[in-house]
């Protein structure tokens, strides 16, 4: 065998690792009933693939070959260890007896396994940061280092979270299954929340290694697509739409210097039309189900913005209406603030300011910098310069994020000088 051919095989195996390793892993976890054993088995199977495929060629169904090989590798490993722990020998025998039955991993079962893996990684019995780390590691295949970099923490911390989560899955017998229809709404929420958290980490963070964080948004969209393909629930579709519509503005959101550009100043020709078209199609699909929730509604708001040629030509009445529905579905002070800003666009800054002041008086938003910068902006538009200055300064005192600070400082400097 020439060196070139060996490199070819390695390249092929690398490609298959990228495209199939997560499906292979998900099925091995089900067959072996153990996360760590399954991971080891998968790696052994890929090492075996490099050797064996060089001699015998690439099999017709590489994923099936890898699952089968991984399973036998795991049985071998357990038999070796059975010398120290007799119970492993028994489990190995039981696995071996079932190993020749391949009916449990046809194409459909393998896809179900991926969905099982998503739900297990997002099980509510796991701590929220563990859910995120485990999903990125097991479902997306990110390395511990990549996850640590993205969440500004250290690889040992991430590794520890993952180890603890796996131990809990094992010790508490957290099931490897898609929840029943009755439990699905609650459990799906956790999955959607994790995906959106991953997306936002990639979307709104301006510090840290921006490249990895951009990848996180892509990873979240990929996860969203996987979920919609496997489980086309309206809110899963709504979340995918929301992520696509937000992602479509990425190129227009920051200047070359990394400064924040607000919606009304963005160059709309930079918006990604393909993502917008797909997002709008998905929003319509989610809303027509009549079982939509907060993600679909937020996506609908993003879609109204995406369809408008300019801020002035935006259908603000529709946006206010959507925020009102959102307030009924999931009331929160931040949504109330967004509604107030939309009302200001529909009815003028004075109407908006009255709402923002009422919200600030309630107290929940007192330390939320965006509430003060929204107030500042409305005062500025009303010519109440001194109040605007005080509110910008208040907002500035509440945010640490570089791009946002620069934006607020610029706004402050643009205010007319004191009389």
């Amino acid at each position: 065998m020439s060196e070139g051919a060996a490199d070819d095989i390695r390249g092929t195996v690398d490609d298959i690792y990228r495209s199939d390793s997560r499906r292979v892993l998900a099925t091995l976890i089900r067959l072996l009933g153990d996360f760590e054993l399954a991971e080891e088995a998968m790696h052994d199977a890929f090492i075996a693939a490099v050797e064996q495929w060089q001699r015998e060629g690439v099999p017709k169904n590489p994923a099936a070959w890898l699952i089968s090989t991984g399973r036998f590798k795991a049985i071998d490993a357990m038999r070796r260890r059975a010398r120290f722990d007799a119970s492993l020998g028994e489990i190995a025998n039981r696995l071996a007896a079932a190993a020749n039955d391949t009916s449990g991993w046809n194409e459909e079962a393998v896809e179900d396994d991926r969905l099982r893996l998503v739900f297990t990684c997002c099980h509510p019995a796991l701590a929220s940061d563990a859910q995120v780390a485990l999903t990125l590691r097991e479902v997306c295949g990110l390395t511990t280092e990549e996850i640590a970099r993205a969440f500004l923490t250290t690889p040992p911390t991430v590794a520890q979270r993952i180890v603890r989560a796996k131990r809990k899955i094992h010790d508490a017998h957290i099931p490897y299954q898609v929840p029943s229809q009755r439990e699905l709404p609650d459990r799906l929420d956790a999955v959607l929340r994790v995906i959106y958290l991953v997306f936002n980490e990639g979307y709104s963070a301006s510090s840290g290694a921006s490249l990895t964080r951009h990848d996180l948004s892509g990873e979240a969209i990929r996860l969203g697509r996987l979920l919609v393909a496997l489980l086309p629930e309206p809110e899963a579709i709504g979340l995918l739409a929301l992520m696509l519509l937000q992602e479509s503005r990425r190129a227009a959101r920051t200047s070359r210097e990394g400064d924040l550009i607000l919606l009304d100043k963005q160059d709309r020709s930079l918006w990604n039309r393909d993502q917008i078209a797909e997002g709008i199609r998905l929003v319509e699909q989610a809303l027509s189900s009549r079982r939509f929730g907060p993600y679909s509604l937020q996506a609908a708001i993003a879609a109204v913005h995406a369809e408008a040629p300019s801020t002035a030509a935006t259908d603000w009445a529709q946006i206010v209406g959507l925020y009102e529905v959102l307030m009924r579905v999931e009331p929160s002070p931040v949504i109330a603030l967004n509604r107030a800003v939309a009302v200001a666009m529909r009815d003028g800054p004075a109407a908006g300011l009255a709402l923002v002041d009422a919200l600030l008086a309630e107290g929940d938003l007192r330390d939320y910098h965006l509430a003060h910068s929204a107030r500042a902006d409305l005062c500025r538009r009303l010519g109440r310069t001194e109040e605007a200055r005080a509110s910008y300064q208040r907002a500035l005192g509440l945010t640490q994020q570089g791009a946002e600070r620069r934006f607020l400082e610029r706004r402050l400097s643009e205010l007319p000088a004191e009389p």
Binding site: D171, H173, P175, Q177
Partner: protein, 118 residues
């Protein structure tokens, strides 16, 4: 797999609940336990006497130190327990969800039993 469901409740609050409502909760409890016996889930369980009847034992320098009251001062006290046999955590949580004191503001801790080498 066996799980222990530890049912905690604010005893002071329980005392303030009208008699009729308390009777209803206890009746629901009875129904639930009968169901769990029939389905084969229930292995053992009991209601506990109020936490004021508890003593706590620790050892200090090798000598037992016995104190009055439950081991920790908390708002909620352990009021009873059930040992159940379940397939996995989700099934155990499903049963814990049906405990009738939950809607009154109690909590149920679900813990898998460690049966290593038994």
């Amino acid at each position: 797999m066996q799980y222990l469901l530890m049912c905690c409740f604010d005893e002071a609050k329980w005392e303030k609940i009208p008699e009729a409502e308390r009777d209803k909760v206890m009746k629901d409890y009875h129904t639930l336990l009968q169901d769990l016996v029939k389905s084969g889930h229930l292995q053992a369980g009991a209601k506990l006497r109020p936490s004021a009847t508890a003593v706590t034992i620790r050892k200090k320098n090798g000598k037992p130190a016995i104190t009055d009251g439950p081991f920790a001062e908390t708002k909620e006290q352990l009021g009873g327990y059930h040992l159940i046999e379940c397939q996995d955590l989700d099934e155990a949580v499903g049963i814990a969800n049906r405990i009738p004191t939950l809607p009154l503001g109690g909590s149920v801790e679900v813990r898998a039993i460690d049966f290593q080498e038994i």
